[in-house]
Symmetry: C2
Subunit: 267 residues, 2 copies
């Protein structure tokens, strides 16, 4: 009743050279990368994945409602060998910047909207845009400095951490298997609870570029196009909530992070 389902002609196939297959002990996850917004982060992440950098790494910082963070052992040779990345948590636009606007009174930003299925913030005065920290995005962790990311990454698993927008570089989003991300073992417990053993941390079996995966083992994903009249109408309908289930109408606003962009598997 609440979903936005795209019609047959309203889908975009994800290029397998622009997607990553994350294999966990309990299931698979597909992440679509966003080189159009964070080119150097995608390039480094892709090269690292292809080199086997993430294979057998662990999710060592997993906080329910916040993030699942993984990477190689801190200070290990493989960890220290990775070059620093310059911040790409926002990008400049021109006056003709176009996206499918969702909202203009978001609490954090002048405008929100979708471009290529990714949730963006946009400030028309600054002429800047950035990927938003909605649930299920992948971003690089970093030290205190803006330009200190290397290979450690996190996937957001709770309410959107919008206060991290423009402070961390988001570079993709989960398009399949978010349930498997949610099943990653939490490493943090509340006071008084039994601590989690490091041996129980969830391992990354492999992180592969989808185009490197044998064709028969690929998960081929299509995502709903977000720049069509059809999708705009769905946004409108979701905003208006004409269904009788809404016995009074909610405020006619959309939280972009609660506005789905559908995926499907194609053979």
């Amino acid at each position: 009743m609440f979903s936005i389902v795209a019609q047959a002609n309203e889908w975009r196939a994800i290029d397998p050279s622009n997607a990553v297959l994350l294999t966990l002990p309990h299931g698979k996850v597909v992440i679509e990368l966003a080189p159009q917004f964070s080119p150097n982060h995608v390039k480094q992440f892709t090269e690292l994945a292809r080199s086997g950098h993430y294979n057998n790494a662990k999710f060592y910082r997993v906080i329910d409602g916040f993030v699942a963070q993984g990477g190689p052992k801190d200070g290990s040779a493989v960890d220290k060998a990775v070059p620093l990345l310059a911040f790409e948590g926002e990008f400049s636009t021109d006056k003709n910047f176009e996206f499918t606007q969702v909202q203009t009174n978001d609490m954090f930003v002048e405008q929100t909207g979708f471009k290529d299925g990714f949730a963006l913030g946009y400030d028309s005065k600054e002429q800047k845009a950035w990927m938003l920290h909605c649930p299920g995005v992948i971003a690089m962790a970093r030290q205190t400095g803006a330009d200190t990311a290397t290979s450690h990454f996190y996937i957001t698993i709770g309410q959107a951490t919008r206060y991290l927008d423009r402070l961390m570089t988001v570079f993709g989003r989960v398009v399949y298997g978010m349930d498997n991300v949610q099943t990653i073992k939490r490493t943090a417990v509340i006071d008084g609870d039994i601590a989690v053993e490091e041996n129980d941390y969830t391992s990354i079996i492999s992180m592969q570029l989808m185009s490197d995966v044998p064709v028969k083992e690929r998960i081929n994903i299509e995502v709903a196009k977000t720049d069509t009249d059809d999708y705009r109408k769905k946004l409108h309908d979701r905003r208006i909530r004409e269904n009788a289930f809404f016995f009074k109408k909610p405020p006619p606003v959309l939280d972009i992070c609660q506005t789905p962009v559908q995926s499907r598997i194609v053979k």
Copy 2:
């Protein structure tokens, strides 16, 4: 770095007669009930839990990023025997209504804030308040009519479904074991994926009032008080983000559903 940790004298013990222990095959969950806001829903839910109504029921509608919904088999004798509940998704306040205000420019409501650790919306003109659909709340499902809830409930497991505020009756929130809620088997898959068998749906082993649980098996939870100067200072600090990690400061606003209220276990 991002958490709000209450001091030793800033905790409130949850009354075991006001908490529910949900035992799942893979772990335990504690829910604090909110009779101060939704008295009849809490009363019916509590009586049903004590009667064993939910034992062996299944989570039959579990949609990633949305809700995990459970209850007895539709149309079964035990299902049909439950009386209808009148809507309690908002309540009237007087002019002296007090809560710990969090934000005044939330997209959905004039004011947000905490009362007794629960996230509320408040409209001073209408003099109405209501529990918000933040992640980890429990609410009653219903049919189309406002007053059609019975015993089927859902727990929110994704980005806050704020468009359901004032439309559904929230009556508590998870204060322990949200990771176990997130591990409930999803029943919905995307097009092209393998359907989930009903046999694989997650069962409720038991739903017990905590005061009915043998003392040795109880999980005794304290939650941070949200009406103290200490907590207000923590809200302030979280809004201002003085830590150097924030190399530029995010907008000084707080999404109440991304503002934690800590729990801890006491023996």
